[in-house]
């Protein structure tokens, strides 16, 4: 129950961040787009803004972690092959499909974009199939 409340509260903050990014800077707050544009050099005049966004995104949770006495737990698998395969797929897929959970899921669906809705339904379905296969193979 408290997980749901924390989830909804955290979600509200994420939505406020996306709303501020849109109304202030006129941009879609998509994590894969902001990072990807820096990585492949397609970002030109707005490099500093992207770096500011990513720096805050990395350092603020680090500060919270330093103040939070409960042990850090991301629960990430220890299987390095799985991690590398997952990272490659996430990077390739989000750039090919032009967005991830924040860009398509939050910013796209909220404007009732057909592309955002189709992408979100598709990646959630693909994720569910993948987790089901992982569970079947005993990898979960």
């Amino acid at each position: 129950m408290t997980d749901w409340i924390a989830g909804a509260a955290g979600g509200l903050l994420i939505g406020c961040a996306a709303a501020l990014y849109l109304l202030g800077n006129g941009k879609i707050m998509g994590a894969s787009g902001i990072l990807g544009g820096l990585a492949d050099g397609t970002a030109r005049h707005d490099r500093v803004e992207r770096i500011a966004f990513i720096s805050a995104l990395v350092t603020v949770p680090a500060i919270i972690r330093a103040l939070d006495p409960t042990p850090a737990a991301t629960g990430l698998t220890g299987n390095i092959f799985l991690i590398v395969a997952a990272g490659l797929l996430v990077g390739l897929g989000t750039r090919l499909g032009n967005g991830c959970t924040s860009g398509h899921g939050v910013c796209g669906i909220s404007r009732l974009s057909i592309r955002g809705i189709v992408a979100t339904v598709t990646f959630i379905a693909a994720g569910m199939v993948t987790v089901a296969v992982l569970r079947f193979l005993g990898g979960l």
Partner: protein
Amino acid sequence: MMRILTAAVCGALFGIGLYLSGMTDTRKVQGFLDVTGTWDPTLMFVMGGALLPMAIAWRLTQGRTPRYGGSFPAPLQHRPDRNLATGAILFGMGWGLAGLCPGPAMASLSYGGSGGVIFLVAMIAGMLIAVPARRRLDTAGGLT
């Protein structure tokens, strides 16, 4: 300067939101995708919470321009195409395998251990592979 400050505030809020909602915990994300096991609905509440302010924000864009310059992104006119579908399938597979997507991967960088760092490096490599991959898909053409 205000644009840079706004971007930093958004990154900070995004990071706090991801942390608070538990979305940097890969087990909660995989738990949401785990419909054949013990399903964890948290991600749905996160999504719902995030959609609310954004739906209002899109309404507020009408008849206005962004506070700190530029213009609002026009809705993409083209329909979902092959690149969108292929990309979303590949992304969903990777998301299911590790329970990480780009936002949480960055937010948990400081406490996700070496695995988290390796994921981020692999993800950036995947983003770079996407450039020639997209070119190939576009020239392979025909079947859009």
